[in-house]
């Protein structure tokens, strides 16, 4: 008996084929994630020369500088802003996502479209629109003045509240979409089962719906939290650049102070922070939810 040619043997070397198919992805990751991260790390060990160019070397001085209370405080404040933004996005976005996922298919498509419509215009244009709304002689104050003149003008623009508003507005869709996906996957029979077993409408949510949509929440929270920590444009435009967040400081190191090594060290620290938070999220993810 002759053995069939190896190429026709199904699944003879699935590993090789899989690797071949993965090559573009791996190349992309290597080229645009791993290499830049290594460059960043290498740069963070260097030094700034008099003219602001990078002198490659090996020094931990930039990391020592990170421990300066100024930067620690900025880190903490950035995390606080991001946490607040994320919490508000969750509070507003979850019910929206839930309702969209439970709506009739035609309505659902329309609502999803509406969630994504803002992406059709530039992020900066939308932020400027918020400036027009929040400024002293803006739309919101005109409305307030009309409703109750004594309250006007509310000094909203160039405040932390304006920054958080802008951030929540910008990142809300990034929370809605993954939560929507996980609610949509949720088997309606599970909710009925919970009702059947005596859970009223208010108890079904924490006991069944919340734990089962946790993967969507985790994805959404990550998608909102990570970019907001490092965001600088919104802070500049809506916050009047008064209170620097870590994104502003990093941007400054690259464009104003021209201290790339220190900027790189800040970036590496931020990267480390995200890695830790991802590991924590993974560890906290309850057993059994991974496979529905």
């Amino acid at each position: 008996m002759t053995s069939p040619p190896a190429a026709l043997e199904p699944g003879a070397r699935p590993g090789a084929v899989a690797w071949l198919l993965l090559t573009p992805l791996l190349a992309w990751l290597a080229l645009f994630v791993v290499v830049p991260a290594l460059l960043l790390f290498g740069c963070s060990l260097g030094e700034r020369d008099e003219f602001g160019q990078v002198l490659w070397g090996f020094s931990l001085e930039n990391y020592a500088r990170l421990l300066d209370p100024v930067y620690l405080r900025i880190f903490l404040r950035s995390l606080g802003f991001a946490a607040l933004t994320t919490a508000l996005c969750l509070l507003i976005g979850y019910p929206v996502a839930y309702q969209i996922a439970r709506a009739a298919p035609r309505v659902r498509e329309l609502l999803l479209l509406l969630v994504m419509v803002p992406f059709w215009t530039s992020f900066l244009v939308r932020t400027y629109a918020w400036m027009a709304i929040l400024r002293e002689e803006g739309l919101l104050n005109a409305l307030v003045a009309w409703l109750h003149p004594a309250w006007a003008p509310l000094g909203l623009l160039y405040t932390p509240a304006a920054v958080v508003t802008g951030l929540v507005y910008s990142y809300l869709p990034f929370l809605i979409l993954p939560v929507y996906a996980s609610v949509e996957k949720l088997d309606g029979a599970l909710i009925e089962a919970a009702h059947d077993l005596g859970a009223g409408p208010w108890r079904v949510f924490p006991s069944v719906i919340l734990p089962l949509t946790l993967p969507g929440i985790a994805a959404g929270v990550t998608l909102v939290f990570v970019p907001t920590v490092a965001m600088f444009a919104v802070t500049d435009l809506l916050g009047g650049a008064r209170v620097p967040l870590i994104g502003n400081v990093i941007q400054n190191q690259f464009l104003q102070a021209r201290d790339w090594p220190f900027g790189a060290a800040l970036g590496v620290a931020l990267l480390g922070l995200f890695l830790i938070s991802q590991l924590l999220l993974r560890a906290l993810r309850p057993h059994g939810v991974i496979r529905g």
Binding site: I74, R135, E136, E137, G138, A241, V243, Q256
Partner: protein, 344 residues
Amino acid sequence: MKFKTPTLPGRLAALLLLLLPVAARGAGELNLFGWSEYIPQPVLEGFTRETGIKVNFETYSSNEEMLAKLVAGGGRYDLVQPSDFTAEAMIRRKLLQPLDRARLTGLGNLAPEFTGRAHDPEGRYTVPYMSGSVGIVVNTEKVKTPVRGYRDVFQAVHRDRIVVVNDSRELVSWALYALGLPVNTIDAASLARVRPLLAEWIKLVKVFDSDSPKTALLNGDVDLGVVWSGEAALLWRENRKFQYLLPAEGAHQFVDVLAIPAGARNVTEAHRFIDYILRPEVSRQISAAFPYTNPNLAARRLLTPDELANPASYPNAGKLESFRDIGRSAADIDRLVTDLKSAK
């Protein structure tokens, strides 16, 4: 009728035809790297119309950003637009190449006070583009108390009614002026003296904005500020209630220049562009769009009396001073300002 597959020479010819425009463009091209909101689009179009040279225009919003990209990008740019003190550092670093002055027929149009300045005493590397100052703008409808200098701006009564440019060196220089310290020799001792004063000032500021500080003033979100004179000139043009003045303690005068980077490929085109800018009628066009102080005397003669009367464009004499390159101190200044802003 049937289509035949083209022969190999046919295909090569087609390929060459496709490449031709690219090659042609390469010959008549200028890669210009300039400030945002500084070079009017009609000026670029007029240049291309006249010379056939295509202008690839990229913008930046700080000298440091320009330097970062120039150093990283090698020979990508043919013409840059640094401020005088940055040009000085670039000359020292051999990042600029000498100009062929013979090719710049309009040099004679420049006012003498704008040539031979400290950053380039012989004018070998740079040609002034526009000049300006950093001064105080006041909404006189809202602010009734007299404002003469920095200390009058940064008063507790103006808390949250102030806009300033978001530029660490500018901020520090104002405090240095207020304290009577030199702005071009900055060391740990002078920064230590600046610190408490600047800390107080920063607490009073509502908006830090380098790109468009006029916006907050126009929208009524603030009433006074320390801003680029060009911004103040636009405000005055909009409404005469916005008055500009040079701070009594001293003020920064900047001259932004045109210069050719050492690695530039299209040197001829860069020279033609500089010479085009030096023409009175072109320079006049720039003044109309961005009313800074025009160093081109011939162009100034073409301005309307109204334009010449703009106090922000052509301020009454004050104590004006150029910035010089301060090297490593830039990072110390940034650190100080970051620190003070965070302390709020």
